[in-house]
């Protein structure tokens, strides 16, 4: 399994030294669910600086009609600079790639929508290169889905996306309190105290689940069946994140790997061993 990391800076040496095989680079204005994004110029410069490193540009924001011209231009530039892929949610990007005859690989990140094997099978036939697995599925479901012929990405470490709104929810909240808007606000659902983090950009407000995912306990198995593992820095300190990354890359003893990473970032395994329910009465 290749380890693809999402970090908060573009000096990538330390991450490469600690074991990163590639990077998710969220593009400003066109990526959601990330605290830190980078401008097109910064991302293009990063490609020049690291020509042999796997670099994927994340453009998973909703696209509106008025964005299409700009997104088309961006995709053409990314295509000409030979990025390793564009991570997308909105099928406008698929249409642009096709209509503009671009060869940049497309990686579908349906967030909560990739929950069966048939969707990647279908997308593979349509020319999509790979998919990011949804986070709300079980290990057994993952085992079935990865039988699809395309390679998959799975998040191993990070705060998981729980929702995106077009509304500027933090602006409204602070405006009402007559306080300066915070870009990021920690929330706890009032009755259960389940944590969420709300993050607002120019285009949306996203919600991340506040308990960091750590799939180290299942890494030995996942690393055999999934091609790419994603580690998100989110709000972790750099040194702490580098330690986690290094443990995923270099620690050969699975138990130590699991325990040591858990000491740093906890042991939330998300929905890997826990099914969601959807019927509450007969």
């Amino acid at each position: 399994m290749k380890l693809i990391v999402n970090v908060n800076e573009l000096n990538l040496e330390a991450y490469l030294e600690s074991g990163a095989d590639g990077f998710f680079l969220p593009l400003k204005d066109y990526a959601t669910d990330y605290f830190v994004t980078f401008t097109k110029k910064e991302i293009l410069e990063t490609r020049k600086k690291y020509p042999d490193t796997l670099l994927y540009v994340v453009m998973n924001e909703m696209i509106f009609n008025h964005d299409i011209e700009d997104v088309t231009q961006i995709l053409k530039e990314l295509d000409s600079c030979q990025f390793d892929g564009v991570v997308f949610y909105d099928f406008a990007l698929y249409e642009i790639q096709k209509k503009s005859h671009l060869s940049i690989p497309l990686i579908y990140h349906g967030t909560h929508l990739l929950t069966n094997k048939e969707v990647p099978d279908f997308l593979f036939k349509k020319g999509v290169s790979s998919c990011v697995l949804s986070h709300e599925i079980t290990l057994d479901e993952i085992k079935e889905i990865v039988k699809s012929p395309m390679p998959f990405f799975i998040t191993l470490v990070g705060l998981l996306p729980a929702g995106v709104s077009r509304r500027k929810l933090l602006s409204y909240f602070y405006q009402r309190k007559n306080q300066e808007k915070q870009e990021k606000t920690f929330l706890k659902e009032s009755s259960t105290q389940i944590p969420l983090i709300a993050h607002e950009t120019e285009k949306s407000t996203s919600f991340l689940y506040g308990k960091r995912l750590n799939l180290a306990a299942y890494f030995p198995l996942l690393s055999k069946i999934v091609a790419y593992g994603i580690l998100r820095q989110d709000d972790l300190e750099k040194e702490e994140f580098l330690q986690v990354l290094s443990l995923y890359k270099n620690e050969k003893d699975p138990q130590k790997q699991s325990e040591k990473t858990a000491e740093l970032i906890g042991r939330n395994t998300g929905f890997l061993m826990r099914k969601t329910i959807f019927k509450v009465k007969k």
Binding site: I63, T115, E118, E141, R167, T185, I277, K279, V280
Partner: protein, 397 residues
């Protein structure tokens, strides 16, 4: 081609009410799989009966099969589709890419409508779904009039837009708050409406909330018709028959007035008032005319007023004694000023002078929901006519 009025049905009775009150088509779920897993939903027998009822009226039934299915549900999904085709549904509302492909391949004569779960916000995404077999797209609720217009102009698709009902805070399909907070999967029909919960912050005692007001576009139907919208969708498969009769009937009146060129400010005001009385939340135009803002949501968490305007449903008429036979829904009494409204969109105002129980005994107060009662009324009206409070008697006296 006249715009379609599309209404939600949680069961067979609601289907009939919607169609009788003027819906051109209805959307329903079956018991096995739908995004309203906790609605009553239809058995296949009921679905067949519903389709027969609709087709006799030259109207349509669409099946919502818009869950994001997991591997274990695949076979069930295909069975649902097969049985629904046999039952006579006219179209499928789906979001899963594979299901679109499956329907196109196996049931090419059935229309595919792409669900709002896919949150289509631009014309290229709409074209993508068109290319893989969609005849219609249900657009995201986050779009403005001009954005909708551009999508219509740049595709040959039928475009369906929501015109009335509850709104999600997040993009449909792009929300798993319910999974993370309550372990209930919103994309398989288990949404627990976490966006209507309250949240503590680490800063002070002020609660963070994000519950939206409802959508109400009754004043903007004409513009939506003019830009070429094909279908007006009303939200709410779990709503009561009274709510549906009122909302569907009201929108029917406005749409008909637009086509007959008889729409007046007075009619719009009256309809707005009726819609606001039946709703349990305030409403706004949300994104249609401007970006939604701080006025389009609540700051106190879940805000729902109970509505006790609905007094009873007409289930028959005693021609001999000229009495409406009704099933009571809410408390009312002699001297109450009420309105009777019918599937033919007639409305009658009158004061209740007498109330009789089924055995003929006269009473002055109706206080038992579901009790069959009779009240004098000179004209026979169809079943499924409904009585609502106009003014409380103490206000009259």
């Amino acid at each position: 081609m006249r715009v379609e009025l599309l209404a939600p049905c949680g069961d067979l009775e609601r289907l009939k009410v919607n169609l009788l009150y003027g819906a051109d088509a209805v959307y329903v779920g079956v018991k096995d799989l739908s995004l309203r897993a906790n609605a009553v939903n239809f058995t296949y027998g009921e679905l067949e009966e519903g389709c027969r009822f609709a087709h006799q009226l030259h109207k349509k039934v669409y099946l919502t099969a818009n869950i994001v299915f997991h591997q274990e549900e695949r076979q069930k999904m295909e069975e649902v589709i097969q049985k629904s085709v046999q039952a006579g549904v006219d179209a499928f509302i789906v979001s899963d890419l594979y299901l679109i492909h499956y329907l196109r391949k196996n049931y090419p004569s059935k229309e595919i409508h792409v669900s709002t779960q896919t949150s289509i916000t631009n014309y290229l995404a709409a074209q993508f779904y068109q290319e893989i077999g969609a005849k219609r797209v249900v657009l995201a609720r986050e779009l403005s009039l001009s954005e909708i217009k551009e999508i219509i102009t740049k595709t040959n698709l039928e475009v369906e837009v929501f015109i009335h009902g509850a709104m999600c805070t997040c993009y449909s399909g792009r929300c798993a708050l319910s999974s993370y907070v309550t372990n209930r999967d919103p994309n398989r029909g288990g949404c627990s409406q976490v966006c209507r919960f309250t949240f503590d912050t680490l800063e002070d005692d002020e609660k963070f909330t994000m519950a939206t007001k409802d959508l109400n576009l009754v004043r903007h139907l004409k513009e939506l018709i003019e830009i070429g919208v094909s279908s007006f969708k009303i939200e709410g498969r779990m709503r009561s028959i009274y709510y549906l009769a009122t909302v569907v009937g009201t929108y029917r009146r406005v749409i008909d007035a637009i086509y007959q060129n008889t729409l007046t400010e007075s009619l719009l005001s009256e309809c707005e008032q009726i819609l606001s009385r039946v709703s349990n939340r305030e409403s706004s135009t949300q994104y249609l005319l401007k970006e939604a803002n701080e006025l389009d949501q609540y700051y106190t968490g879940r805000e729902e007023a109970s509505n006790q305007d609905y007094l009873g449903q007409v289930i028959g008429y005693d021609k001999e004694r000229k009495r409406l036979i009704i099933k009571e829904r809410n408390y009312f009494k002699v001297l109450d000023e009420v309105e009777l409204f019918t599937p033919e969109l007639e409305t009658y105002s009158f004061q209740i002078k007498e109330i009789y129980q089924e055995d003929g005994k006269e009473i002055t107060i109706a206080r038992h929901p579901d009790e069959v009662l009779m009240i004098p009324f000179d004209k026979e009206v169809p079943n499924y006519s409904m009585i609502r409070m106009k003014k409380k008697s103490k206000e009259v006296l």
